[in-house]
């Protein structure tokens, strides 16, 4: 009983941690972009203000049941994915460990898609053509980056004969190495795929303002938008932590985690500031060239 | 002065021999005016485009000469070779104004004709284009006609904010609004 309560409490704390870190990263991203653009930029807690304001806005739009469910799907998916990602290495005494079982990596790969599908359903219901086009673009781009990402995961699973994230983390701790050195091609493929996952420029075709207003979220305002922003922040934390766990040996304490995830986070941010946006078909071709190539090499590397 | 207008003279001659019923005038440097009856406009435009090298079309405008009961349509062409602006002017009656559709010669004329149809009510038979161009739900006479009084229309449609009556000097009142004097530098702008 005590342990279950403790675990529930830990889960709640993990969600809060993910939300806070994700939000601050968003704020820091805005600050970095502002500094690059010669500006002072907003304070780094600006995203918190935005989210609280959005939650306090009145919402009086009704486009059918799925429209209300879309953001819920999104946040469910990100929290569920968070539950499968161990925050810290080893026996963390407080943070939620994870619902690990053998095969959770495969489940996670599926779960990370689930949120986008829920969003797609919700956005499709609104009847705004911009949303519909944005959803189509999002799903096409997902097809693009999922393939190299899954290949890189498969390469790791094949190389180390485990389908569990904790298994992969334990291997890194035992062998005292990072998997990004054991299978560098898998790392490259996964990082390139991560650029697409973050939906930052040049892969922000989903919500490109100059083309489709803001894509799937164009009919969502107020609380819905707040829910999506929260979901996005948690999801960013999930992705970064997963990459750190798998490729960079996990983290022993929170400070290490923050340093590692932030270093990883800088890649899509800085790439985004300096790049224009791809068109949809160009984005997919991009993922099916070098990332896919590295994915294939990674599998070959793992097999031989 | 006449000696400097060599290329203009040449154009003058060419047009003079090609068309009979037109009045030609060299207005100034690089500007030749052609006053033509309305059925000659399209032939002149075609002739200028095919024979005289007036490849590009510059402008189509309409002027309301209400005292003569006429609209004046002005086609302005420009030649990249001689660099001369050719003004083809024609007058059409103001009641029931109809002009030949010329957007088959230059497709660009399409936009101008849409505007002139809406703003002056000149009809171009056989011309395809959306009826509404700039205005929306306009029920009065076409607004660019000179007998349309915009101030009357404004005063009966819109409400003006009080204090906006014409020819009032409000600078002093603004300056004295919070009790202060007009500073010296501002005094020289106030109407004594």
């Amino acid at each position: 009983m005590n342990t279950i309560l403790f675990q529930l409490f830990g889960a709640l704390a993990t969600i809060l941690l993910a939300f806070t870190v994700g939000m601050f990263y968003g704020g820091i991203r805005r600050k970095i972009i502002a500094r690059i653009q010669n500006r002072v930029g907003p304070p780094i807690y600006q995203n918190f203000l935005d989210v609280i304001k959005l939650y306090s806005k009145e919402t009086s739009i009704h486009h059918g049941a799925m429209q209300h469910m879309g953001p819920v799907f999104a946040i469910t998916a990100s929290i569920t994915s968070l539950m499968f990602v161990p925050v810290l290495n080893g026996e963390g005494w407080f943070w939620f460990k994870n619902l690990n079982f053998s095969g959770d990596l495969i489940f996670l790969v599926y779960m990370m898609v689930f949120g986008s599908l829920g969003m797609a359903l919700g956005a499709g219901q609104t009847g705004n053509p911009n949303s519909a086009i944005g959803v189509t673009r999002g799903l096409s781009q997902m097809v693009g980056y999922e393939i190299p990402f899954v290949m890189s995961m498969v390469a790791l699973m094949a190389q180390f004969h485990t389908t569990s994230i904790t298994g992969l983390m334990n291997i890194q701790v035992q062998e005292n190495t990072w998997l990004m050195f054991s299978n560098p091609f898998a790392f490259i493929a996964a990082v390139l795929a991560m650029l697409g996952m973050f939906h930052y420029s040049p892969f922000d075709i989903v919500h490109a303002p100059a083309e489709v207003a803001s894509g799937p979220v164009s009919e969502f305002g107020g609380k819905y938008l707040g829910l999506m922003m929260s979901s996005g922040s948690i999801f960013a934390f999930v992705k970064l932590t997963l990459f750190v766990n798998i490729f960079m040996g996990g983290a022993a304490n929170l400070i290490e985690l923050v340093i590692k995830t932030f270093a990883l986070y800088l890649i899509p941010v800085l790439y985004g500031v300096t790049s224009p946006r791809y068109r949809t078909e160009q984005a997919i071709t991009y993922f099916w060239k070098w990332p896919l190539f590295f994915g294939v090499i990674a599998i070959l590397w793992a097999s031989f | 002065m006449e000696t400097t207008f060599i290329k203009e003279e040449l154009l003058f001659r060419q047009l003079e021999t090609a068309f009979e019923n037109v009045v030609l005038e060299i207005a100034r440097k690089e500007a030749v005016l052609v006053y033509a009856p309305k059925e000659l406009v399209a032939p002149i435009l075609l002739y200028a485009k095919e024979k005289l090298g007036y490849k590009s079309f510059s402008h189509l405008s309409c002027v309301d000469w209400i005292e003569n009961d006429e609209f004046e349509l002005v086609y302005i062409l420009w030649s990249p070779e001689t660099k001369i602006n050719l003004f083809v002017k024609t007058r059409i009656e103001r009641e029931n104004p109809i002009m030949e559709n010329t957007d088959t010669i230059w497709r660009q004329i399409n936009t101008y004709q849409r505007e002139i149809r809406e703003m002056f009510g000149v009809e171009f038979p056989g011309f395809i284009g959306e009826k509404e161009f700039i205005l929306e739900d306009w029920e009065e006479i076409p607004p660019m006609r000179r007998d349309f009084d915009t101030l009357d229309y404004v005063s009966e449609t819109f409400d003006e904010r009080p204090g906006r009556e014409d020819k009032q000097d409000v600078r002093e009142r603004i300056a004295n609004r919070s009790g202060e004097e007009i500073p010296d530098f501002a005094k020289k702008y106030s109407r004594e």
């Binding site: 805005r30 502002a34 653009q37 010669n38 500006r39 002072v40 930029g41 907003p42 600006q46 203000l49 935005d50 609280i52 304001k53 306090s56 806005k57 009145e58 919402t59 009086s60 739009i61 911009n130 919500h207 303002p209 207003a213 803001s214 979220v217 164009s218 009919e219 969502f220 305002g221 107020g222 938008l225 | 205005l135 929306e136 739900d137 029920e139 607004p143 349309f148 915009t150 101030l151 229309y153 404004v154 449609t157 819109f158 409400d159 003006e160 904010r161 204090g163 906006r164």
Partner: protein
Amino acid sequence: MYNDNNAQTIVEYIKNFTRKNSLFMLAYGTGCGAIELPATLTSRYDAERLGVRGAATPRQADLLLITGYLSTKTLKRVIRVYEQMQDPKYVIGFGSCTINGGMYWDSYNTIKMLDKYIPVDVYINGCMPRPESVIAGFKELQRLISEGKADGATKYKENLDWYRENQKKVLKNWPLVEYNW
């Protein structure tokens, strides 16, 4: 216990604090004043310091900037956009022409008093207002919000009949459905 006045005040304070520091401005350049908005958002003036950022669609926006004169054709769209925005929402009238017609006082196609058609919280005068005055306008709006006085939207709902009457006087063909919030 939780509904006592102090708790309410604190909640209101937090709400107003976040609202004033996070203004999503609708990207709708209704007139020529929109040319100063890029300057306001870039390095020298940087309105993002104040939490002002662009929003792509009316659903996401809090702040509608009427950047200059409104032709009757645009007014129809602006009313539609304004009614699509979610509460709380604010309007800034930008430029002299929104206040009293400005230099377009005798033009048959522009409205003269913006606040007869939609409620305006802050006016910025000038033709066109410099980025400094735009920032000052944002600051003024923030002050009104933190004092809880920026209640244009509530006034619009209460006096809807009056606003509708004025709107229909100018817009002859009224194709919009009667909007419900």
